[in-house]
Symmetry: C2
Subunit: 201 residues, 2 copies
DNA sequence: TCCTTTACGAGACAGTCTGTCTCGTATAGG
DNA sequence: CCTATACGAGACAGACTGTCTCGTAAAGGA
């Protein structure tokens, strides 16, 4: 389980030795990354550039994150937060809420970062797994939970390939974001949910 | 309409002037790119490296392709070819054939190249459009045609959002390829087609 | 045959980024 | 006071990009 952020040296229990880290640096760096991401895209995020913009030493960044993709991924996670999936008692509402988080997430910094991050993931399995665990999995969980509740209520049939259904619910959002051939908006959210309901009922 | 490959100087009708290009170079470069792509991934494809491997001058590559992503995209297109969509008279068979091309395409060099290419597309709208036109659109066309034939036969209902349906059929393949969280195999092909049939009938 | 045009190989060049390292200095606990 | 770590500054080697300049090669046209 590789973390996005490097652990402190006193890497376990024991109170840390030596001079403590300055958390202002963490905040300044994350802010700089999000700013550059927003205005000039993933490619423009470089370790040198971020250090300059945050007015910090490059070594201080490398001390915290092993490389640019980990840094960016960590920044994204810090902006997303784990939205709890509401249980409304109705499958359509639950799915609309859960799928809506895709649409919203992909309207923020994730949108700018995703293509580059995906490319880096292809070259670093540890990064890929970390990103999947922190970005993909939490959002899948809320949809999976909604489907299971619906099945328990008798609102949805069983026997469907749940993993495939989860892919079907999420994939169009990533697909459109990465290829840019169509909009990612509330209309897509509604459309995807209606099709999922048609399948599962 | 930006082409992937740079046009020759005698860029129109008129027979070309001067020394003709050596097509051995085109072939050697494309072969080198596909080889590096296969063995070491998109990142390892560099203009310097390809020139070295193909034993040609860097300038000769830049004369033909404006930059690495265009070169790679052109190499991919050259390996894919436009598979004609068969008309079997049956929607399920037609879709299985059409969707099967996704699965096969994403088992070849496209699989290695896609993540990096997607990242470059995010920074170059012209490249993005060229890739969409040459990679995405042809495969969508055959699915669209199959759906329209089925509707004409009364095998499928109308009124559905065709573009969304096309995204639904293709997206899981790209999604799984880019995030690597699940396999892209014939089982996925069958599953996606069955769900599409459930929706459209 | 000569002239013009383009192709080719070789390499120079400036600019940028990465990741590591080494200073001198600062700040915590024991 | 000692030790451990953080910080800023910068050096460093290595790699890649994209453009440019040579000298040379190979076409067609006059």
């Amino acid at each position: 389980m590789t973390p996005l952020k490097s652990r402190l040296p006193g890497s376990g229990r024991r109170p840390p030795r030596g001079r403590p880290r300055n958390e202002d640096i963490d905040r300044a760096v994350v802010a700089a990354v999000l700013e550059v991401l927003r205005t000039r895209g993933y490619r423009a995020v470089t370790m040198v550039g971020i250090a300059r913009k945050a007015k910090r030493a490059r070594a201080s960044i490398y001390r915290r994150w092993p490389s640019k993709p980990y840094l960016v991924a960590d920044c994204l996670v810090s902006t997303m937060g784990a939205r709890p999936a509401p249980d409304t008692g109705d499958l359509r509402s639950d799915l609309l809420a859960a799928v809506g988080t895709f649409q919203r997430a992909l309207s923020g910094p994730l949108r700018q970062a995703l293509p580059g991050l995906v490319a880096d993931m292809a070259h670093d399995p540890k990064l890929a797994q970390a990103v999947r665990r922190q970005v993909l999995v939490p959002r899948r969980q809320s949809m999976r939970a909604a489907l299971e509740r619906a099945r328990a209520r008798g609102e949805a049939r069983g026997g469907a390939d749940i993993e495939l259904l989860l892919d079907l619910l999420a994939a169009p959002f990533y697909f459109r974001t990465l290829f840019g051939h169509a909009r990612v908006d509330r209309r897509l959210t509604r459309g995807v949910v209606e099709l999922a309901l048609k399948i599962v009922r």
